[in-house]
């Protein structure tokens, strides 16, 4: 597997894993904590989408599926499949420390462990590609242009019927 192509495919898969799981579990619908509310409205003031802004705020304020994906990839890289499961447990603890009662982080970690087993053990990818790919994925969502990425997240939220009803 060519390194650059593998890295790009790994980034896309990591992006899909965390965005789809987070959207399905309701992150765009409402802010989990007050901080996420502040971030969501700040992005809306700068021309972004409110639902996408809540998504960004929820990523910021608590370990969600993006954290689960990253830690599962790291766990798989250093330990193997047990590392992915241990990462799910660590993300669960992190969620409760951040006063988040949800399961987005643990779900993301477990699905990522399954994906990693398929891609790394049978399709010739390396776990390190998924670790760096996840960082690239979060850079694309939070590091380039917030109004544009929140509009994309808002569109995906509408497709999943998870768009926010708040103002």
């Amino acid at each position: 597997m060519n390194e650059i192509i593998g890295l790009i495919i790994a980034a896309i898969i990591s992006w899909l894993n965390f965005v789809l799981i987070d959207t399905y579990l309701g992150l765009p619908e409402e802010p989990g904590v007050k901080g996420a509310d502040n971030v969501g409205h700040s992005i809306k003031q700068r021309g972004g989408d409110l639902s996408g802004g809540f998504f960004q705020g929820n990523i910021l304020c608590s370990p969600d599926a993006s954290a689960g994906t990253l830690l599962a990839s790291i766990g798989f890289m250093v330990i193997g499949i047990n590392g992915g499961i241990l990462a799910a447990f660590l993300v669960y603890i992190g969620n409760r420390l951040c006063a988040d009662p949800g399961y987005a982080g643990t779900t993301g970690a477990l699905t990522m462990t399954v994906i990693l087993t398929i891609f790394c053990d049978y399709l010739g990818f390396k776990p390190i590609m998924f670790v760096v790919g996840m960082v690239i994925a979060i850079f694309v969502i939070q590091g380039i242009h917030h109004p544009a990425s929140t509009k994309l997240l808002g569109t995906i939220a509408r497709k999943f019927n998870r768009y926010t009803k708040l103002e």
Partner: protein, 84 residues
């Protein structure tokens, strides 16, 4: 190659966080650093303990981002008293 990519992302986000004025925007750029540094830790240590170190760093940075984000609105009402 992988360490270099993570390093470039970290430095870019740090510079961007330094330059931008909006506080919420700064916090989101720093959150990207909160992802890339655990990845760098894991790549460098590359033993099973790396998972624990990376997870602890990540959770701690998330807890502090949570605390900072909570106070973002409250700073606008602060009153500054010049020395009397």
């Amino acid at each position: 190659m992988y360490m270099e990519i993570l390093g470039i992302i970290t430095i870019l986000m740090a510079l961007r966080a330094l330059i931008t004025q909006n506080r919420a925007e700064k916090l989101l750029y720093i959150n990207v650093i909160g992802f890339s540094v655990p990845a760098m830790i894991a790549l460098y240590i590359n033993t099973p303990f790396a998972l624990i170190v990376a997870a602890v760093f990540f959770v701690c940075s998330t807890i502090s981002s949570n605390a900072i984000a909570y106070t973002l609105n409250k700073l606008d009402d602060e009153i500054v008293l010049d020395g009397e």
